[in-house]
Symmetry: C2
Subunit: 502 residues, 2 copies
């Protein structure tokens, strides 16, 4: 009997008709039954007469399946056994306690993300370099797109396209002639015929990320387009969404980002976004995380299908500092997926210092939210920028972000929340009404205090540590009680951690 | 015949009675008549039987004066001649064109201020060191207090007190026992008898600043008090205000700051502040600049007696970036007198980096406002901090502030205003509807662009310069036209200046 681990991917494939257009004319689906769950999953046509349906079991034990469709070969059935999850497999990430995430096995998930919008579409050498960087454990979430990207530094064609057809000529594209407005003429696509190879590349990427313990925050639609993928008809969009959901839902590390910068997609209406969301809710049987990311205007993150806020900063100067406000406003995890990138581009979204990006991570995280990284150092020779292509990291923030994650992972309850503090500090405590130990992180951002005074109630003993968030050191300051003073080096980006010992 | 320069100080002194309490029982005033003005000024008792009345002439030529009061010797008269102003004497600073200042002779005044709250009350060696630093030309405005200051780093008694009497014992004061709330017991003051020596020290300071080309932004009341000066009765307050106005109004470089952090002075009501303002408007015949400075809540800066907004930042992260908003809201010059200080104190108001303070100056200034400096480096040995005592400057921002002033002084019209730009830059242009040349400052703050692209209409020729606001260099990039690119070093705190050449 076939086996698959819990939260692994079980696939049933059948050979069927190739005639006509199987993508629109043929249906294929499966029903998967175990002791604790019965789920139905849509299948998809993978080209060359091959039909597949995928399933992610959430329980161990014996399962049965049946497949069916509108062609004779679709009807199959069988059994398989679900084994315990392998080491490192904690299941899909869920919203665990209003503002925070956990893997389904209960392991807290502290999100430290990055963005390489179209890394999976790059040549294999670049992809391998990306994976090599990712293997260093800086990040546990990656935002990337199904569609290729048309933008400055992104004029090369991708390795594959999502549809059968031919793209517009890209040979005359330059930064000087680049425009956000394109008329899509010169393209010749059949939006009813997918190119399975393109989607297999995405699946490979999802799996590679999974193997590195990284969530795949998949951006299903986006506005940076010269091919017309952002301006398809309602029927074409829905066909695409069905196909994406059918192919990717069974990967445990998938997150759905309906769009990057939905508000720049002028051809789409609020009704469209809500319809895509309905499709996701109806056809992803695993209820993977769902978000929608803004350029300027936030989507209404109170919408029930939105599991967490995926935010881009709306102001140059104050953004992650609003994390507490958005927690209250939306009652969901607050993930700052774009807060400007470490780099030296001409534009402000891509030229902040590693110090400033690291500061933004700390502010977001200590206020009970999460942040996302990106890197945009100019590369005149190859024009490979991490933010879009992946490749080699050049910056100084990733290792600091990994350090921050190690601190977050030491939170004694599940997640942090902002706590009242003095006006000039950001104070985080465990985000749990039942946590009774004392645990506080005091962060001073761009302030440069030479010391800080603390006052604790009589009889309490606290361990004090000084955290240099830039140098990535934790220095023990011994146990303290009553009124005490912690010396600091008069440098930016320092924190003090206090742990109650009695 | 006696002479005095235009905008100089002409004083008439008479000997009169010492008996009783001349401060409250005796009146003395003068009327000063020239061809172009007739002004009445209140006099004051300077102790030891000496009565004085002071006058600042605003026109050249012959003047007559009469003095009078409720004692026989008060009645005098005489003549004097007003000569042209000496070099460096440009008259008092006025609001010139809604948002900007000029000296009365029309010379633009670009405010770059500093704060040494109680520098005039310090021992002479410290005072001389302060003056030595100020002589380096970093600043052209100084905020300081008439009353001494009670606060951390400020437990020593001042050299003199404003009233006859004895102060509370200060020998047990420590940072640990310091509180904002004091009961003022242990003090023994006669609030009807001023100590003239205290006020002569202030006058000396005003004059020393005047000689250095620095405006004296005199803080008449403030909350940091252990002596009871912040909680006097209405009658005592009014006596004080009359005395202050009579003594200081005739100094051309005086500005009136009704209070530092008026909103912390819990004993005072809105009615009180408006009454002090009325006294100022009624008895300062020269209409010197008037402001009132907040801790948290701004005063209503639309009040007609307020000549300009003296602001303390209300948020840690976004403050001077609101300059354009406050220009619109209040229709007056916007002066950010407190935006945190360069230093390494424990508190956030006193521990930002010189880079960040300089950035705040540039942001405020290029948005058509002005900023103020302060320095708070710990001095364990002597506890002399510039922000309060003056003394020696240790920081790196003053010389950069002087450099900014040199750039502001090159504005071809009078003052700058914020202009529309790309989202990630601060753009300043001359704040004049009639200025027709092209002049633009593009500032990138904490952004680190490697280049910026510009586009100018066909036929226009522009000179481009790169300004490194930290290194204090201006690099010529030659003439440019049409679409052009300016290379930048990918560092923070850069600006580009464009000047139209045709």
């Amino acid at each position: 009997m076939k086996t698959v681990e819990k939260w692994g991917l079980f696939e049933v494939a059948v050979m069927g008709p190739k005639e006509g257009n199987p993508f629109v004319e043929k249906s294929f689906r499966g029903i998967f039954r175990g002791k604790n769950e019965t789920l139905e999953a849509e299948g998809f046509y993978d080209g060359e007469g091959l039909y597949k349906v995928r399933f992610m079991p959430s329980f161990e034990g014996d399962y049965q399946y049946e497949t069916m469709g509108n062609f004779p070969e679709a009807n199959t059935s069988g059994r398989f056994a679900v084994t315990p999850p392998a080491r490192g497999n904690h299941g899909p990430v869920r919203v665990a306690n209003t503002y925070h995430f956990a893997y389904e096995d209960g392991t807290p998930y502290y999100s430290v993300g990055t963005t390489c919008y179209v890394w999976s579409h790059q040549p294999e050498a670049v992809r391998q370099k990306t994976l090599e960087e990712l293997s260093k454990g800086y990040f546990n979430k990656m935002r990337f797109c199904v569609f290729p990207k048309h933008y400055i530094h992104n004029f090369k064609d991708p390795e594959t396209f999502p549809y059968e057809g031919t793209p517009v000529d890209n040979s005359n594209l330059t930064e000087e002639t680049f425009s956000y407005e394109t008329d899509f003429s010169g393209n010749n696509w059949d939006f009813t015929r997918f190119c399975p190879e393109h989607f297999r590349r995405i699946e490979k990427a999802i799996l590679e990320l999974q193997n590195l313990g990284i969530e795949a925050d998949l951006i299903v639609m986006h506005p940076y387009d010269r091919w017309g993928f952002s301006k398809m008809s309602k029927e074409e969009d829905d066909l695409y969404w069905h196909y994406v959901i059918a192919r990717f839902s069974a990967y445990r590390n998938i997150w759905w980002s309906l769009a990057n910068e939905y508000d720049l997609m002028k051809a789409k209406t609020l009704e469209d976004w809500e319809r895509y969301a309905s499709l996701l809710c109806a056809h992803d049987p695993y209820r993977h995380l769902r978000s929608i990311h803004n350029c300027i205007a936030f989507y209404d993150h109170t919408r029930p299908w939105i599991t967490h806020c995926s935010l881009q900063r709306q102001d140059l100067y104050r953004h992650v500092e609003y994390t507490g406000d958005y927690r209250i406003k939306y009652g969901k995890p607050v993930v700052w997926d774009e807060i400007a990138y470490e780099g030296n581009l001409d534009m402000g979204w891509g030229n902040i210092s590693p110090q400033e990006l690291t500061r933004r991570f700390w502010e977001a995280s200590l206020r009970g939210g999460y942040a996302g990284h990106g890197e945009t150092y100019l590369d005149p020779e190859n024009d490979i920028l991490w933010w879009s292509h992946g490749g080699t990291l050049h910056g100084e923030s990733p290792v600091r972000i990994k350090f921050l994650h190690s601190i977050l992972a030491e939170t004694p309850a599940h997640g942090l929340r902002p706590a009242p503090g003095i006006f000039d500090e950001t104070v985080a405590v465990p985000d749990s009404p039942t946590f009774e130990g004392g645990y506080e992180l005091h962060y001073y951002g761009f302030g440069r205090p030479s010391f800080r005074d603390f006052q604790k109630p009589e009889g309490e003993i606290w361990q004090a540590e000084v955290i240099d968030t830039w140098e990535m050191t934790v220095s023990d300051c011994g146990t303290q009680s009553g009124r005490f003073r912690i010396s600091l080096p008069g440098k930016e980006y320092m924190a003090v951690r206090l742990k109650r010992m009695n």
